[in-house]
């Protein structure tokens, strides 16, 4: 984050911005042009996002591609505040808004945006396979040790594919508490679009339900809402019922994807591509927990 001060014909001006630069390594392999395009697509839509200002793909300036966006001030981002007792009065409102906004992401007509210019739309029947192939490939490339639980889940996923979605939508890719800016009244900005793509909208719903995000450890999804209430709000927004069996497939998939993310971070630290302690931290903290989640989602938990 930085504050810029400049002068023009209108006089002295200042504004706070956020700069996001391609890291040398992170929990996910991402690309700034793609993320920038998704942010821009949702500007002036019912989905609140920070306004994009500049994209620079030439690494000569800051050592890596980067973009600059407006900072949305006066907001919280942390899930800790959301589950804090002091936020109790606003929590239910924000929780419902979370799933209304998710519905709006999935209702968005991406065909009339710049998104098809940066990503190939999948055939509806191929949505699940494209994502599973990708995340299995990430596990292949990054596992430091064999992963028998994730591999068993991948075999189950390939043997029990979900039906194609009625329509291919934008998928945020990391939609959960912690990845939107909010105040006591509303969600003010959906952020972290680095895993955004086109695909099956149930992928986002399932990801938001993952046990790893049950921050309060009380069974509430994202630490803030009951699963069925979230589905009900989402269904009302998109105007269609959620296929529970298909949702379950995507929940098992989410377990595999989560493991792919933690393994990618662990490998980047092991290889010396990043000194960030977050990478070994998530490896120690979450990889075994992720295996437990996969087992429970498959009905094989303790």
């Amino acid at each position: 984050m930085f504050k810029a001060v400049w002068e023009d014909e209108g006089g002295r001006r200042s504004q706070e911005f956020v700069l996001r630069r391609d890291p040398p390594a992170s929990l996910v392999e991402s690309e700034r042009t793609l993320e920038y395009t998704f942010y821009r697509a949702f500007q002036d839509s019912p989905v609140p996002v920070p306004r994009m200002r500049w994209l620079e793909t030439d690494p000569a300036h800051l050592g890596a591609p980067f973009f600059v966006m407006d900072r949305i001030g006066g907001c919280e981002a942390s899930w800790r505040t959301l589950i804090d007792p002091s936020f109790a009065e606003s929590r239910a409102r924000i929780a419902r808004r979370m799933y209304e906004v998710l519905g709006q992401i999935h209702l968005f007509d991406w065909t009339r945006s710049e998104i098809p210019g940066v990503i190939d739309p999948p055939d509806p029947a191929e949505c699940w396979k494209r994502e599973l192939d990708y995340w299995e490939g990430m596990i292949d490339a990054n596992e430091l040790s064999p992963q028998p639980i994730a591999r068993a889940a991948i075999r189950w996923l390939r043997s029990n594919p979900p039906p194609p979605p009625k329509r291919v939508t934008v998928v945020h890719g990391d939609y959960r508490t912690g990845n939107f800016l909010y105040d006591s009244e509303d969600i003010r900005g959906v952020v972290d679009w680095e895993m955004a793509h086109l695909g099956d909208p149930l992928e986002d719903l399932a990801w938001s339900f993952m046990e790893a995000w049950e921050w309060a450890r009380d069974g509430k999804k994202g630490g803030i809402i009951d699963r069925e209430e979230a589905i009900q709000v989402y269904e009302q927004t998109v105007g269609e019922p959620v296929d529970r069996d298909a949702l379950h497939w995507w929940e098992v998939f989410s377990g595999v994807k989560g493991q792919g993310i933690w393994l990618t971070g662990a490998k980047s630290f092991q290889d010396g591509r990043t000194p960030e302690l977050m990478m070994p931290f998530t490896a120690y903290w979450l990889t075994n927990f992720q295996d437990e989640i996969i087992l429970r989602t498959l009905g094989r938990g303790a």
Partner: protein, 149 residues
Amino acid sequence: MKPDVPLVLNGIAATLATHVLPELRTPFGQQNVGIASQLCAMIAQEFDRAAARLVEENRALISLFERAIPVLDDGPLREQLQQAIATPPGSDLRISALQAENDRLRALLITLHAQVEEIDTPEGSALNERIWDELRESTRRRKLTSGLA
């Protein structure tokens, strides 16, 4: 005599959390020191149990392979399992050596599980359940008792 390694690591974790972190003024610094503190606490647990966990799991996998052999038809996998059973545990007790052995055995477990899922007999189903038991047990062995999750 030196203080035990887990004791030292937990001491570092406590010092970072209670003495260093409150002195820091930037969110970036606070976050990094907080992570370092929690990482030390987790590694303290892992340090003490790692060898025992790996030896226990490697033995359990060999035992599982012994039960699997009569259920499998002749073929490369059966030979691999027989070879794994016949190979005596290495004398090298360093964590890296035990982990390398564990990696070999768990890779073989993946191949075995995929094959067993295709066996449509009561014996195959029973073995499949035994493999799931082992997978559940593997998460119990790795669980951090004072971790965040």
